[in-house]
């Protein structure tokens, strides 16, 4: 067997496992992978793309709603966007983003401005970090396929 492919496969496996272990992904991401097959080989990437677009849009909404220069802050408006982001992050298995949204939502309900601003900054960093990590993972997959190998199924226990 091509040593190059085997090495790439091992790299991919280790990297994927680390994403779960470090809490970036949870078992809902595994559910997404179950829905991907030869007929829909890019399904996971497509959903994640929609998710990251959602992040940009919703975080923009939150930032605008938290902008004091436009008047008093409408925490329910912020909360509505947080709720939506919580939903979509939950659907794709973006565990850290989802966790931040839970905290963020509590700050909204408590009408805690500083808490909200902090969460906003953190959620922005977090989704961007996840995006980079997943891009690295997809790149590894691509390299395996280009080398003529098969992307291994990674079992997370």
């Amino acid at each position: 067997m091509n040593a190059g492919i085997a090495q790439l496969q091992m790299q991919f496996r280790d990297y994927t496992i680390s994403l779960y272990q470090q809490g970036f992904l949870d078992d809902q991401f595994t559910e997404l992978k179950k829905l991907q097959d030869d007929g829909s080989p890019d399904f996971v990437a497509e959903v994640l793309l929609l998710f990251f677009e959602d992040c940009v849009k919703l975080i923009g909404n939150m930032a605008r709603a938290l902008d004091k220069s436009t008047g008093t802050v409408d925490f329910s408006q912020v909360g509505a966007s947080v709720h939506q982001l919580k939903g979509s992050s939950s659907s794709v298995g973006a565990k850290r983003v989802k966790g931040l949204c839970v905290t963020f939502k509590e700050y909204c309900e408590a009408q805690n401005y500083e808490g909200c601003v902090r969460c906003l900054q953190q959620v922005d960093i977090e989704y961007k970090t996840l995006k980079t990590k997943l891009q690295d993972m997809f790149n590894l997959e691509k390299q395996i396929v280009q080398a003529g190998g098969v992307v291994p199924q990674v079992d997370i226990d």
């Binding site: 997404l32 829905l35 959903v47 939950s90 298995g93």
Partner: protein, 183 residues
């Protein structure tokens, strides 16, 4: 029997089942989240369902022709076997959609499943009381859809068997009548 009795002569309907096709459940999915729409659509396709996805309760009502406007889809062509709707949606909620469907004579028999990210007991109770078939906690899993599909297919099988049995009784009845009339 020496002669084959043609269905039209006996005035029997050719519609053997209410399924869109013998194997496929046609599901109408309603969700305002783009991510969730993509997800549920794939989930249902993988589970051998035909899927129509809309982004709001209003659009769902339009599709079903329940919005008071003339819709392009005739009731005869529209065979929906299941409606899955998100609970929290801007404008009309999934709960309000559920109520409208149960109020409609054309669609009240269609099972409606509510999906929600929030595990709020009074909310669940209210939906079930209003006639929801099931309440699924998001994120929805493949296993949830499989379970749903299995229970619906089973209900369809039972309904189908009952229909076939009824037909058999009718056919036997007609045959005896014809025999007596010496046709």
């Amino acid at each position: 029997m020496a002669e084959v009795l043609r269905p039209e002569k006996l005035e029997m309907s050719n519609d053997t089942s209410s399924l869109a096709s013998p194997e496929l459940l046609h599901v109408l999915a309603v969700d305002d989240s783009m991510v969730d729409r993509k997800f549920i659509e794939r989930l249902l396709r993988v589970s051998s369902c035909k899927v129509t996805v809309v982004d709001s309760a209003t659009r769902a009502l339009q599709y079903l022709g329940l919005d008071g406007e003339n819709s392009s889809v005739g009731f005869e062509d529209l065979k929906i076997n299941l409606i899955m709707t998100d609970y929290s949606m801007p404008g009309m909620t999934g709960y309000e959609l559920l109520k409208k469907i149960k109020e409609s004579s054309a669609f009240r028999e269609i099972p409606v499943v509510i999906m929600s990210s929030e595990n709020i007991l009074p909310r669940i109770d209210r939906c079930l009381e209003e006639g929801a078939e099931d309440f699924l906690l998001k994120p929805v899993k493949l296993a949830d859809v499989k379970r749903l599909r299995d229970s619906l297919m089973k209900a369809e099988d039972v309904a189908f068997e009952n229909l076939m049995y009824k037909r058999e009784l009718e056919a036997n009845d007609v045959y005896s009548q014809l025999k007596r009339a010496k046709i």
